[in-house]
């Protein structure tokens, strides 16, 4: 293999595929990056057996070939080079890759490309095109709600359900649920339901920042893996298997009191309350005081720290319904308010029933949080 390319392109490509390099694996070769000549391009690939990332850069191919190189040496070395033309040359017998860039040279010992775990190919069965900006927003508003513990593996994933022209993106742990509805450009042929590991979705979210082209999403017939294709990037993810809970029945259908407040003020209050509530179990008490004639309603945010003190904030709110109270874990409120902007509506029924947060002015997102039972 003998290839010439630009340092800038190679460094960019390595920064992308590095995310899929296995850090601690029983299979040492997965700590390597696979370099392959592919027509007139150089393909970089890495996999940790759950996520596989491939990236193509433009290159002048003088001699075809393939090799895997330890990422630990390759990426920092390439990063340190000046932005210039660089040449990679493999000596097949010793499996040494010689990298030259200006007056800087390095050799790195590699391992046979044939031993690298095959990067799975996804044969088209279900193909969707998704707007990257909308998808990015959906993932930002949903992924954080996925479970981090492994007591129920499916909850460590993000649930995607495409039906008609709508794609529902949802995640839940035992205590909260986030659902974002995306509009697809055209209807899907048949209902599609998959669970993608939340970690992979975070990676995808990161990659989406750099593109404005529609993202291709391709799911294989066995529904065991999904391919996301972005310009010069392909990400293949092993799907989680299992039955995702039917979350629609967990969404309250009605409420008694609805309060609308600015997200920024609500979030600031919760952050203040958290200073005290984190001393205990993170309990924040919310009380809704209805509008009175000309006086606007209030959303009161209280927190206590045993034997120390507490905080009490009041935010102007436009309230619809009678007074109400409910307690939540401050962390869950901070998480969801952190991904919203503008105005948010809080819908509650009773201190023991779930509360729902919805952005005002758009009906494509909702967030359900289970209350904490406290004495009032």
């Amino acid at each position: 293999m003998k290839v010439t390319c630009l340092q800038e392109n190679l460094a960019k490509g390595l920064s992308v595929v590095s995310r899929a390099v296995a850090s601690r694996s029983t299979l040492p070769i997965t700590a390597n990056v696979l370099l392959t000549t592919d027509n007139s391009r150089l393909k970089l690939a890495a996999t940790n057996l759950e996520i596989a990332l491939s990236y193509w850069i433009g290159a002048k191919i003088e001699e075809e070939g393939a090799i895997t190189v330890p990422n630990k040496f390759l990426t920092p070395f390439v990063d340190s080079l000046p932005n210039d033309r660089m040449e990679l040359e493999l000596s097949p017998r010793s499996k040494q890759v010689k990298i030259e860039c200006g007056r800087n040279t390095a050799t790195i010992g590699g391992m046979d490309a044939g031993d690298f775990p095959p990067i799975p190919t996804v044969q088209g069965d279900m193909l969707l095109y998704i707007d990257p900006v909308a998808l990015r927003k959906a993932l930002t508003q949903v992924v954080f709600a996925a479970a981090s513990d492994d007591s129920r593996p499916v909850l460590q994933g993000v649930h995607l359900l495409a039906e008609g022209t709508r794609l529902a993106v949802a995640a839940a742990d035992g205590f909260r649920l986030a659902v974002h509805y995306l509009q697809l450009s055209g209807p899907v042929d048949e209902k599609l339901e998959i669970i993608v590991p939340a970690k992979a979705m975070s990676e995808l979210n990161r990659l989406l920042a750099d593109t404005d082209q529609p993202v291709e999403m391709l799911v294989n017939a066995a529904r065991s893996s999904v391919l996301f294709r972005l310009p010069s990037i392909e990400m293949v993810v092993q799907l989680l298997q299992g039955a995702y809970p039917d979350y629609n029945r967990l969404i309250p259908q009605n409420y008694t009191t609805r309060s609308v407040v600015p997200v920024s003020e609500f979030l600031a209050s919760i952050r203040r309350a958290a200073i005290f509530s984190r001393e205990g179990s993170g309990i924040v008490r919310l009380q809704v005081h209805p509008n009175e004639d000309l006086v606007p309603g209030k959303l009161e945010v209280q927190a206590k720290a045993e034997e120390i003190g507490g905080s009490d904030d009041r935010i102007d709110a436009s309230v619809d319904g009678p007074s109400a109270k409910i307690a939540f874990n401050s962390r869950y409120l901070q998480d969801v308010l952190g991904v919203l902007d503008g105005q948010v509506a809080l819908e509650v029924s009773s201190p023991s029933l779930p509360g729902v947060l919805r952005p005002v002015g758009s009906d494509n997102y909702l967030h359900v949080i289970m209350p904490m039972f406290v004495s009032w």
Binding site: R24, G174, F175, G280, S281, P354, F373, V374, S375
Partner: protein
């Protein structure tokens, strides 16, 4: 006082205590008899945890009317004819001690009909006296009712555990029989409520489902192995299903339930490296050996046995368990479980990255501080983390190494105990309630100690006949497996008698589950927060189990070691 031979009835009462020491042992003796009579259905009915009534009904061969009274006599048995039979015991009972012991300890009604008899017969024993046999209408088989157990031995009654614990023990006994005899349909009713019902379909998995729930039973692996002298068959759980105690390692020798530390260890060693320390597997294993090779006549309760070829049996059990698990390892999806956990990696930090050390401690500014309650620890400054397990801190007296798990356990434990004492459990509702099925023994505990669980913050609701719905969990437990915490709590109270210890144990179990694990990399902020919480703890120097949370290396010791002094 001159030496005298005890009057027979006194001697009898003393001896009876060896066989019948609690309701569970009475039930066991009666079930043994039912099985020896060839029953296909055995039902056990309890009132007041067996102290009011234990009734065992079977559809076995029955006892002829003429022999009925004799059955209650001491050393009367139909299962041995001469001394020679003792060497090869194939029946469960054989001493002829069970019924007479019960006669001494309780009031007995024995009703029976054989297949050839036109009508049944009944005999009563009241206050230790056997009354005349009378004719009675009876279905085929035998019914024994034991009323007011130990009413005449108040001392024995005093040593019984709580009613729920005794009922739990009976449930345990019936569960063992249901597992050992899948061809017999066992039912157990406690105060009119059905708590166990095995189908009697001669399917070991179906019997396991009746005891451990259908979900657990479906995942069990079959094991089988034999040598010339013995064979091993059974069902074992995958390494992902574990318990905190050995109570779910169920062993039978020739289908007789036995307690054997050594054989239980054989099962555990088959799981070597697959289970976390302190976790025990679930297994149901029957060992078949030549009856001549076993001595069951060691103890009246017959739960201890001697095996002539124990070493061989040990190896057979161990290899049978191991080979079933190894085959499993090939299946995908379990890789993470089979891999041994990575050893903690010690990595020395780059010395330049360390904070510049030992400038005098940050001065406490701000004049009068509000009184901090019970400050028993000096103010500690976090220096770093070692081995992802220990927090290195510095105080005025030198270095303190803090075990992050033990420290967090202490903090959570005190929080749980305080919340409980103030009756303000901090409870977090679950988005999707979780259904789970406790074992009959656990269900009995739950009936009694449900309130205690509620006091800790668990909200449980009945769901169907045996299952429960968990609707809310203690706030500190969010993000952990709550079902495991509940079942572990129930197992713990099953083993623990005194209420104080039980409450302690429950708080400890919860704290241990919610505490940060050893091996977790913590950020500086997290470590400072934990150390700050520990400083405020009542007893910061030990974890609730009594292990130290910290080791102090004094400044003087450091100077001495470095030869500065």
């Amino acid at each position: 006082m001159p030496i005298r031979v005890l009057p027979p009835d006194v001697a009898m009462r003393i001896a009876a205590g060896e066989v019948v020491e609690r309701p569970a042992s009475a039930a066991k003796e009666l079930i043994d008899n039912a099985i020896d009579a060839g029953a296909t259905r055995v039902s056990v009915y309890l009132e007041q945890s067996g102290l009011g009534l234990i009734r065992v009904t079977d559809d076995g061969a029955g006892i002829p009317a003429a022999e009925l009274a004799l059955a209650l006599e001491r050393h009367a048995t139909s299962k041995l004819d001469g001394g020679s039979g003792l060497d090869a015991i194939a029946t469960l009972g054989f001493r002829g001690e069970a019924l007479p012991s019960l006669v001494a300890a309780a009031d007995i009604d024995l009703t029976s009909r054989t297949a050839t008899a036109a009508a049944g017969a009944t005999v009563r024993a009241r206050d230790g006296r056997i009354e005349a046999v009378r004719a009675a209408a009876a279905p085929l088989g035998t019914t024994v009712s034991v009323r007011d157990l130990f009413a005449r031995q108040p001392a024995r009654r005093k040593f019984l555990r709580t009613p729920a614990a005794e009922a739990g023990q009976v449930a345990q006994v019936v569960s063992h029989y249901a597992l050992a005899y899948p061809e017999i349909a066992f039912t157990l009713s406690v105060d009119g409520r059905r708590s166990l019902s095995s189908p009697g379909s001669n399917d070991a998995r179906a019997a396991a489902a009746a005891v451990y729930g259908a979900g657990t039973a479906a995942g069990l692996l079959e094991i089988a192995a034999e040598t010339q002298a013995c064979s091993v068959r059974g069902l074992i759980a995958q390494p992902s299903v574990t318990r905190a105690s050995r109570s779910a390692i169920t062993l039978f020798i020739n289908r007789r339930w036995v307690q054997s530390r050594r054989l239980a260890y054989a099962v555990e060693s088959g799981y070597e490296t697959l289970l976390m320390t302190g976790r025990r597997p679930l297994s149901i294993i029957d060992i078949t050996v030549d009856p001549a090779e076993v001595d069951v006549n060691v103890h009246p309760a017959k739960t201890e046995v001697r095996l002539r070829s124990e070493g061989e049996v040990f190896r057979l059990v161990q290899s049978a368990v191991r080979s079933a698990l190894v085959q499993l390892a090939v299946a995908p999806g379990l890789r993470g479980l089979i891999d041994p956990p990575p050893a903690p990696v010690w990595r020395l930090p780059d010395p330049t990255a360390l904070p510049q050390p030992v400038t005098p401690l940050p001065p406490v500014t701000g004049g009068e501080q509000p009184p901090i309650p019970k400050l028993v620890l000096p103010v500690l400054r976090v220096v770093g983390q070692a081995g992802s397990t220990y927090i290195i801190t510095e105080g005025p007296e030198g270095l303190y190494l803090i075990d992050q798990h033990a420290a967090h356990e202490r903090v959570l434990y005190e929080r749980i105990v305080q919340a409980r004492s103030e009756r303000r459990a901090e409870t977090q509702a679950l988005l999707d309630p979780i259904a789970f099925e406790p074992s009959p023994a656990q269900a009995a505990m739950l009936a009694e100690y449900g309130q205690e669980l509620a006091g800790l913050g668990f909200v449980l609701e009945p769901f169907g006949e045996r299952a429960l719905l968990l609707r809310a969990v203690p706030a500190g437990l969010a993000g952990h497996d709550p079902i495991r915490a509940v079942t572990e709590y129930l197992d713990a109270v099953l083993a623990e008698a005194a209420p104080v210890e039980r409450a302690e144990r429950a708080a400890m179990t919860l704290a241990c589950h919610a505490a940060v694990r050893a091996g977790k990399v913590m950020t500086g902020e997290e470590m400072r927060e934990l150390v700050r919480l520990l400083e405020r703890a009542e007893a910061p120097r030990t974890c609730p189990h009594g292990r130290p949370t910290m080791i102090h290396v004094s400044a003087a010791a450091l100077e001495r070691e470095f030869g500065r002094r």
